[in-house]
Symmetry: C2
């Protein structure tokens, strides 16, 4: 298999990010060894340190960015054509529940797993905050577009984010996506 064929399907860099994200989600940053990531991605060590000069840390930041982008896309799809904020949230929760089940019900938040138990680096922490604020801002934006005034939109989005994080945690503890599927009802309560 030539490199260009690889590139066409999935570059080595992408394969590293995807494999690392999978593993981090399952066992956290510190719980996964470089060797395991390399093996899962089918790449040698040289490639990792070529694409990510700072090794594991750079790779973790990249997986977090990639996963966050995926979440933003999921939000966009969910709110696309949604008549109300509630509709968008409901669709999003259902999609996330499916994702949860597909991952074997033990995956944690891909952003948190890569960043929050990483080195107690300032860069990691700031990135975590930045990505989360991005999610909140995104839902708040959709909420505004659907008629909420800015303050309400922001408060609603923030509350939804908290409920979602908590629901995911509970779903993991229970090994069941039920709570994620029922989340829209809970979030429906007025502010």
């Amino acid at each position: 298999m030539s490199r260009s064929a690889h590139t066409a399907a999935q570059s080595t860099k992408d394969r590293l990010i995807h494999a690392a994200s999978d593993l981090f989600r399952r066992r956290g940053y510190a719980g996964v060894g470089i060797a395991e990531i390399l093996n899962a991605a089918g790449a040698p060590k040289g490639s990792l340190y070529h694409h990510f000069p700072n090794g594991k840390a750079d790779l973790a930041l990249a997986t977090a960015d990639w996963a966050s982008d995926g979440m933003l896309k999921l939000m966009a799809v969910s709110f696309d054509g949604a008549a109300t904020v509630d509709d968008g949230i409901t669709t999003l929760c259902h999609k996330l529940a499916k994702l949860f089940d597909k991952g074997g019900a033990w995956d944690s938040c891909p952003v948190e797993s890569a960043l929050s138990d990483g080195p107690d680096n300032i860069v990691f922490r700031e990135r975590l905050g930045h990505l989360y604020e991005g999610w909140i801002a995104e839902v708040a934006l959709y909420s505004e577009q659907l008629g909420d005034d800015p303050d309400t939109a922001r408060a609603r989005s923030e509350r939804f984010f908290m409920l979602l994080q908590g629901a995911w945690t509970l779903a993991r503890a229970r090994q069941s996506s039920d709570v994620l599927r029922h989340l829209p009802e809970i979030a429906r309560a007025p502010l």
Copy 2:
């Protein structure tokens, strides 16, 4: 310092649990080495494997149980003499916010940090679910005692738990306990 003096103040076993809990909370199960825990607790290796025959895994389970007990006690204190569920929740959130600040604003949930990124052991996962359900049941109980009917109490408790988990996560990302302090207002919304 004799052992009995140690025992009076804090047994070696307890020192191990406290030190491990501190470290796990900060960097997660996989992120902390045995040597570091031993050093923090001022104990040699022999003691660890005497008190916890299965080593790190047993220790992690013990820290989770201990931390969960602490949370239950915090709930008991918060709801003791509370006139309404809202009062209890408000006190609890303020106490947790203080705890958050004391820990340097980067500690994660002590139960989750010890169990969720540990070995993908069934024992660990079931324990995590068990402890969380205990928290939810506890708040539901207080809620019932303060007049809610059982179904409402349970739903309220579960929603509060989710909000709390999410709020803690957000507080960590923001390096600020503000969201924990404002949580009662958010939780105040009717079901």
